[in-house]
């Protein structure tokens, strides 16, 4: 009886949590304590890969899917007729500990629908993580969702216990929120985000001075937004992300393609999630964080959405052909990073290798730089290897995957169902170019 019930709860409450994309367990250096269990791994560890190819790192569950809110895009909305369940904090603890001891997981990602009210929900969440940390001396990774509208005192207590926290921004604009999640307030989302941001920063400073100072959300805060449930443009989305990174000291913004869950007329009628668009946003996000790009450079009011057929960096480069081709033996590191197809690793390799002798095209191959896209934008010892005239239209034709020579109107359809080639797909979660 007990097992059957637990299996059923786990099935309901993990199914409800799986659309939360983050499964990252990185960024924390929490150490084990004497007589304790677990530690965090700075770069994160994947423990399995599910049938959709995503990494499984954390036990990702909801405490409950009973919800008093009615957000149109969400399966758990109160008006939806689905099986409901709740874990007790004790059950969450038992599952986490026993999965961890068997090395199934790196830790826990605990989230929840709104049960009764935000404070009641937050209290239960905090009780579970407190039990893990204090009673069970558990030092594995914990990612906890902060419930918008809960008392800051509760959220702050949670912050002293967990590695990462997230408040989901849900939709890219406040109009979208009003339309689709009328019970949620923008302020209730932004306020804890901003408090978390400043507290994290303060704590980081403090820990530089006193190494023993207790930690506060050491792996930083993240957030998630749904793409394609509203009419917001890509430009609007990446500008929002840029702001979140800058002002709230955000570690990661996750994008989740809207999965059609209802026929509510306020929602777009699509049959499959806009995965290609989500993918382009991850790539653009990567450009913002690691490649020194600004949202304004990538998109503009006259060009507000990414092309689905071309990655954002190639798109940008084609619109700035005057900056290319760059000479690999001379271009500085930051310029190399702007070459389509050259990522952080390749740029570093080039800079390291050219200290010994000047590189020709073969050398680039040898040190492992992938030239499929890069060849059109570089010269090696002054020679161009693109083998086509250096013109936007010609190069573009080479960059767009063959099977996708579609009429130009496909660009306009945000919800195109074509899929990105497998090679590209692998970067879906990281977005690395």
């Amino acid at each position: 009886m007990f097992v059957v019930e637990l299996l059923e709860k786990l099935s309901i409450l993990s199914a409800a949590a799986k659309y939360d994309v983050s499964c990252s367990s990185s960024g924390s250096t929490r150490k084990n304590i004497r007589g304790g269990l677990g530690n965090a791994a700075q770069s994160g560890i994947c423990h399995s890969w599910s049938d959709d190819g995503r990494c499984i790192s954390l036990l990702k569950i909801l405490l409950t899917n009973y919800c008093v809110y009615d957000c149109a895009y969400c399966v758990n909305r109160v008006s939806n007729d689905i099986p409901r369940a709740s874990f007790t904090p004790e059950e969450v603890v038992d599952l986490t500990i026993n999965f961890y001891r068997r090395n199934y997981i790196e830790g826990l990602f605990l989230s929840s629908a709104i049960w009764k009210n935000p404070n009641h929900t937050m209290e239960l969440l905090v009780r579970a993580v407190r039990k893990l940390r204090v009673e069970y001396r558990f030092n594995g990774y914990i990612h906890l969702k902060a419930i918008p509208g809960a008392d800051w005192k509760l959220i702050a207590e949670a912050g002293t216990l967990v590695d990462r926290m997230s408040v989901n921004i849900e939709l890219p604009s406040s109009e979208g929120l009003k339309l689709l999640a009328p019970q949620k307030r923008k302020e209730n989302i932004l306020k804890p985000m901003s408090l978390l941001g400043s507290q994290i920063l303060e704590n980081r400073e403090e820990r530089k001075r006193f190494r023993k100072a207790p930690s506060f959300v050491p792996a930083g805060q993240s957030t998630q937004l749904i793409v394609g449930a509203t009419s917001d443009s890509d430009l609007r989305i990446i500008k929002l992300s840029e702001n979140l990174y800058r002002s709230f000291n955000m570690k990661r913004v996750y994008y989740s393609a809207y999965v059609p869950v209802s026929s509510n007329p306020k929602l777009p009628s699509i049959s499959t999630p806009p995965l290609d668009r989500e993918h382009r946003l991850y790539q653009a996000d990567w450009l913002l964080r690691f490649y020194g790009f600004e949202a304004q450079e990538l998109l503009s009011d006259s060009h507000p959405n990414f092309q689905l057929e071309l990655d954002p960096k190639s798109d940008w480069a084609l619109r700035h052909l005057n900056l290319f081709p760059v000479e690999v033996n001379k271009a500085d590191y930051h310029l190399l990073l702007r070459v389509p197809g050259i990522g952080v690793k390749s740029a570093q390799k080039i800079v390291a290798a050219r200290r010994f002798h000047s590189l020709d095209y073969e050398d680039l191959h040898k040190i492992g730089v992938v030239l499929r896209r890069a060849r059109y934008f570089i010269t090696c010892r002054g020679k161009y290897y693109g083998e086509v005239p250096f013109r936007e239209d010609v190069i573009k034709q080479r960059l767009v995957p063959k099977q996708k020579q579609e009429p130009s109107w496909t660009q306009l359809s945000l919800f195109s169902e074509q899929s990105i080639p497998v090679e590209d797909r692998q970067t879906t979660i990281t977005g690395e170019l």
């Binding site: 097992v3 637990l6 299996l7 786990l10 099935s11 993990s14 199914a15 799986k18 659309y19 150490k31 084990n32 007589g35 304790g36 269990l37 677990g38 530690n39 791994a41 560890i45 994947c46 423990h47 399995s48 890969w49 599910s50 049938d51 959709d52 190819g53 995503r54 990494c55 499984i56 790192s57 036990l59 990702k60 599952l95 026993n98 999965f99 001891r101 068997r102 090395n103 199934y104 790196e106 001396r137 594995g140 999965v259 499959t272 999630p273 995965l275 390799k349 390291a352 290798a353 200290r355 010994f356 050398d363 040898k366 040190i367 497998v422 797909r425 692998q426």
Partner: protein
């Protein structure tokens, strides 16, 4: 052609490299004695492991080349890849010529090959940190079985000694018949050949079942991508993954 044959230990390998440096007769190949197959053109030389000589080589790699190079040599040794001892020899010959710069000279073949092997071993080590599955046996022992491509049990043990510090555990390499054993204080490597069934603790099956179900449930059905899954988690590891067998 001269073959140096060593006993399979790391000290033995380093001794062989010492001899290769000082003896007049340079080897064309260095390999484990058990790998050697006699033929008309080969002349085997048995190397006797000598800890003084191997220490000298060890320190010389560290001082004259780099700590990093030493790490590469050790990982390559653990790779169990055929012909790797000869490659290590060539890599070190080059290393003693160019010194600390060795690993940045990617245009040299032995360096490239060594780094590639190092990466393969590190990759498997890292994978194994996630993919090992412990099951709880009667008598409070957590037991993990694996069959890694490379000899990495000793490379993953320190991680689990820190992480699963308050439980007894065994990491068993079924392919090589050895195991890392931890008793809540320290870990060590020992030979182990198991036959017969493991005796599970009474709740073990329940947690395995919960995990299997959790695993199956996390996949988003619209996004199934078995190819990608296999790329991250090659099928040869599935046998020891509760969720996949």
């Amino acid at each position: 052609m001269i073959y140096y044959l060593y006993d399979g230990t790391f000290e033995g390998l380093l001794t062989a490299i010492y001899e290769a440096y000082y003896r007049r007769e340079k080897p064309a190949f260095i390999m484990r004695a058990e790998e050697y197959e006699a033929n008309l053109f080969s002349r085997p030389v048995i190397i006797i492991t000598d800890s003084e000589k191997s220490d000298k080589v060890y320190r010389s790699i560290e001082d004259k080349i780099s700590r990093q190079a030493l790490r590469h040599v050790y990982y390559a040794y653990l790779s169990d890849i055929k012909g790797v001892a000869t490659l290590i020899y060539r890599y070190l010959q080059l290393g003693w010529q160019v010194g600390a710069e060795l690993d940045s000279q990617l245009f040299r073949e032995p360096v490239r090959e060594m780094l590639a092997i190092y990466q393969r071993v590190s990759k498997e080590r890292h994978r194994m940190l996630g993919l090992l599955r412990f099951c709880k046996l009667t008598g409070e022992i957590y037991f993990a079985t694996c069959e890694p491509d490379h000899n990495i049990v000793g490379l993953v043990a320190p991680h689990f000694a820190r992480r699963l510090a308050d439980q007894n555990w065994v990491i068993y390499d079924q392919k090589r018949g050895l195991a890392a054993v931890y008793n809540q204080r320290e870990w060590f490597i020992t030979n182990l050949n198991l036959s017969g069934q493991l005796l599970y603790e009474e709740n073990e099956k329940i947690y395995q079942q919960l995990w299997k179900q959790y695993f199956a449930g996390t996949a988003i059905q619209d996004r199934l991508n078995p190819k990608l899954q296999r790329q991250f988690m090659p099928v040869r590891y599935w046998q020891h993954l509760d969720e996949k067998n």
